[in-house]
Every structure is written in C-alpha cells, then in structure tokens.
C-alpha cells in the first residue's frame, strides 16, 4: 500500500515540516515501507489477546499532592531564543 502525495503533505503539515518535491517522494516511499511492515504484523492472530494501551503491567502509579520549589525564571528561560517580560517571546498567535 503506497501513501498518496496528499497524505504525505497532510502528515508534513501536522509536523509543521516543509518538504521539497524530492523529499516528498523520498518520505512517501519510506512512510509507505513502515506501513507495509505493520501490514505484516497484522497477520499475527491476536483474537485471544486483549487490547492494551500500556505494555508494562503497572497501574495506579500516583503521588501525594505536595508542592515543591520550581526552577527559577532565569533557569526556565535559559534556552529561549527570545524572551521578554520574563516570558518566552514567540511569533504572533492569531486568535481571530
């Protein structure tokens, strides 16, 4: 099963990646290969295996509601390319 160009475009948009024509074709092939591998996996008979969302048999791992000191503002912003007023500065977010 080969992915369509439209599907690859959509995936690229979701990942916020701009792809050139050449990359589009390359990833179309690679992504299709991955899907084909899943087609192989699908042949395994799983009719008596209950579906699971989590591979390790752990449950109810919780912690007490206690607050602890956070990092300082300068530590938090240390990696920010742009900062202002103690905040991360980002490109305008269009709300309307």
């Amino acid at each position: 099963m080969k992915l369509s160009r439209e599907e690859v475009k959509h995936i690229a948009l979701l990942a916020r990646l701009g792809l050139s024509e050449e990359e589009m074709e390359r990833f179309r092939g690679q992504l299709s290969n991955i899907l084909e591998n899943f087609e192989v996996l699908k042949q395994v008979d799983t009719s008596d295996v209950p579906p699971t969302a989590y591979p390790i048999s752990l449950e109810n791992v919780v912690r007490e509601d206690e607050a602890a000191p956070s990092f300082t503002q300068s530590e938090i912003l240390a990696n920010a390319p742009h900062q202002e007023e103690g905040c991360f500065r980002v490109r305008a977010v269009l709300e309307q």
Binding site: H10, L14, R16, A53, Y54, I56, L58, E59, N60, V61, V62, R63, E64, D65, E66, A67, A68, S70, F71, T72, Q73, I76, L77, E84, E85, G86, C87, F88, R89, V90, R91, A92, V93, E95, Q96
Partner: protein, 488 residues
Amino acid sequence: MTYETIIGLEVHAQLLTRSKMFCRCSADYIDAASNTHVCPVCLGMPGVLPTINQQALEYAVMTALALNCAIPEYTKFDRKNYPYPDLMKGYQISQYDAPLAVNGWLEIEIEGHKRRIGIIRVHLEEDTAKLLHRTTPWGETYSLVDVNRAGVPLLEVVSEPDIRSPEEARQYLMKLRTILQFLGVSSGNMEEGSFRCDANISIRPLGSTDSAVKVEVKNMNSFKAVYRALEYEEGRQRGVIEEGGRLLQETRGWVEEKGITVSQRSKEYAHDYRYFPEPDLPPMVFSRQWVEQLRSRLPELPEARRDRFLSHYGLSAYDASLLTASKAMADYFEACVKLKTEAMVEKRAKAVRNWLLSDFSRLLHATDTEIGDSKVTPEHLVEMLDLIDQGTLSGAAAKTVFEEMFSSGRHAADIIAEKGLTQISDAEEVEEIVAQVIATNAQAVEDFKKGKERALTFLVGQVMRQTRGRANPSLVNKLLKEKLEDSP
C-alpha cells in the same frame, strides 16, 4: 416558524490542588511572577517523567459522583496533539476513549419546573500556558508565553445537548459551579478563568429531529456573557435561515464590547489530534471500594442543604434557594444562626435572612465584594442583631449602623456609642417629639382624622426623622395614636 434551540456546554474547571496535575510545581499561580512555577516536566523537556496527582483524581471522582456519573473501573490518559504555543510539549495530556466518568446528570429549575440535564463525560486534563499578545510601536504583533498555568489540573465536564435556552444554560452553569464550590474542589471563579465555558448551539424547526449545523461559541468570561452570547447566536442563526442562507459549522468568539459573535476559524481545518495512549502514565483501575469510600466522604450538596434550610429554619423555598446559591452565603448564614440558642433559632434565622438578602446583598453587589471577604463577620452581624433584640438599636437606625460596619469593619456597639444612635424607648422623651410633630403637621393630622391610614405612616416617619431613626417604632405608633385620638 417556531424554532427550537439546542445547546450543549463544555466546562473546564481548575482543581484546587496544591501541586500541578503531573509535577510538583505549585498550582497556585494567580499572583506569581511569570514563569516561576515551572519545571522541566511543564516544559516537556526530553527525559522527564510526569506522575499523577492523587488529590486531583479524588477531586475528579468526587465531582463525578456528585454529578450522578458512573465511574468505570478502567481509565487512562491520552495525548492530544496540536501545535499551538500554549502547549509547550506539542500535546496536551488529556483523556480520550476511557474518561474517568460517564453518564451523569444535574438538575436545574426553570420557572418552578425541575429539569435534568445529562452529562456525557467528566475527565481530567492539564491546563495550558497563558499567552499575552503584544504589539510593537511599529505595529508588529507577537506573543509572550507564561507557563505557570500549564499543568494545573483541569476538570472537563461535557453536557448532553439537553439545554434548550440561554437561561437554562445559565442555570446549568450556576448549578455546576455551586456543586464544585460545595465540594471544595474548585473556586469556580469565572473572571479569573478558573471556571470556563464553551458552548455548542444550533437551532432547528420545533418538532424536527434533524441534526442542525452546530456552532461552537468561545470566549465567554462571565455567566452574563454566556447568556448574552447564546441569545445573540440564537437570533443570528434564525436570521440566516430566514433569509434563505446557509449556516456554517464554525467556531465563533464572543466579543463582549460589541455584544456579538465573530467567526474564528472554519472547521475545514478540522483538527487532527491524533490521540494515543500517554506512554509515560500507566492506566488507572479504580476499585469499587475506593469509589464508595469517596462517595461516603461527599459533603452536603446544595440541594440537601436547601432542603435542610427549608425544614430546620422555617425558611421559604425561595429564600432557602437564594441562601444556598453559593457555599459562602450558606456558610455565612449558618455561622450567624449557630451562634443562637436552639429555641431562638427560627426567629434569628428570619432576621439573618432579612439582612443577608436585602441590605447586605445590596452592599456586596454595589462594592463587588464576595461575602467571605466582607469586613462584617458573622460575629459582627450577630452582635448587631442582639442589640436590636435587646431594644438598644432600632431597626431604622440599624441600617445606618450596618452601612458603617460594612465600610469600616467596626463593631455595632462602638458605632452606636460614637454616633449617639441608641434607641429612645423613654416614653416622655418620645411623647415630646410626637407632640411637636402633631403640632407642625396639621394637614396630615386632618387627613388621619378623615380616615386616611397612610397619614399615620407619614407622621411616624416624621418622628423617626426627627430622632434620626432612634425612636422605638412601636412606642411611636402607640403614642401617636393615643395623641391623635385625644386631640380635638
């Protein structure tokens, strides 16, 4: 044509935990400097491991039980992916196909009729970062991100599309907020954004069961805004249909200043959230025993409290509803009444009710104060009521005293002493003033003799005025009548 309005509401309420949903940063961020309640978990740095806040789970289950929901044994968290700068991780930890609770309802009362509004689901998720929008002097716009709010536990409550009018929507929200406040799990403060609401609204010809085009309305920051936005949207949709137009499935934002909704983004770019199970958080299995234990810990809820107010304090159904409309009001009322001996409770309850629902409410409203923040404590109010009962303070002068108590937080006794407002119950002193009033208001005296009862009220008012409300009113009444009947 008559149309029917179909509304479903989605409410997000922040939970009052000490720490955030998945890390130990403090969840109390309102007054904090920006980005000071943040850690690598909040930022989604590589290699971090979120852990579930036990208290948030308990609060969520308690709320779900109070909303008559079923609590499935199995529940889990999922990742909801979307690219937006208020999500540092690029996804929000939320719940998708196995929510914490399902199939509940809450009851509202519309014009004396009780109606049940279904609740589809209740689930837990994390709040997002706050965005601040800025413009440079040369007109370039940009945004600032404050991550303090990101990760605060958020409870989502989704109603069935059972709501049929803006007023029902308002009632539903107020009821839900009251329940959260009675449980003590959320502040329910809409202005501060701890309690938020989005609405889905559509209209269809009455009697039709077709599914109409749904519009999502956002950006409503008060109960009044929800009401106004839905009322506006009802009219707008009817207008489009009646002019032969087609409604679009879209998201619209409420613009408070203009009183309108405007299109925000069309659903053509339908979100592709690509939910998948959160691999960092093991699923949860709630034992029935634990759920029942939480159920037994539920405090008295608004309806039960209203019914108890009704039977125990001899209040009317209407007054009992008003007094239990908020937990703070109900607590205040009971604190005042509890300070009185059992035999006196009903009488005192009526007096407290009178003050709470009239002068006190009016002043709270005028000064935009919550009752819990008022300078008049229950002890202060009780002290004043005791002074009225003892005959030291007249009801009329009490109004002046109360206003002063409200603005200064001083004791009634001190204000009475300072302003000379002690009630005059001395017959001779009152008699003198009564004689004066009769002498100077010949017209009213004549009217009274002609049988005009209202003239008496006027004369009583004159005596009260002369004494600045200090005269004992029953004494004034008695003496006035006597004098009027004696005089020729």
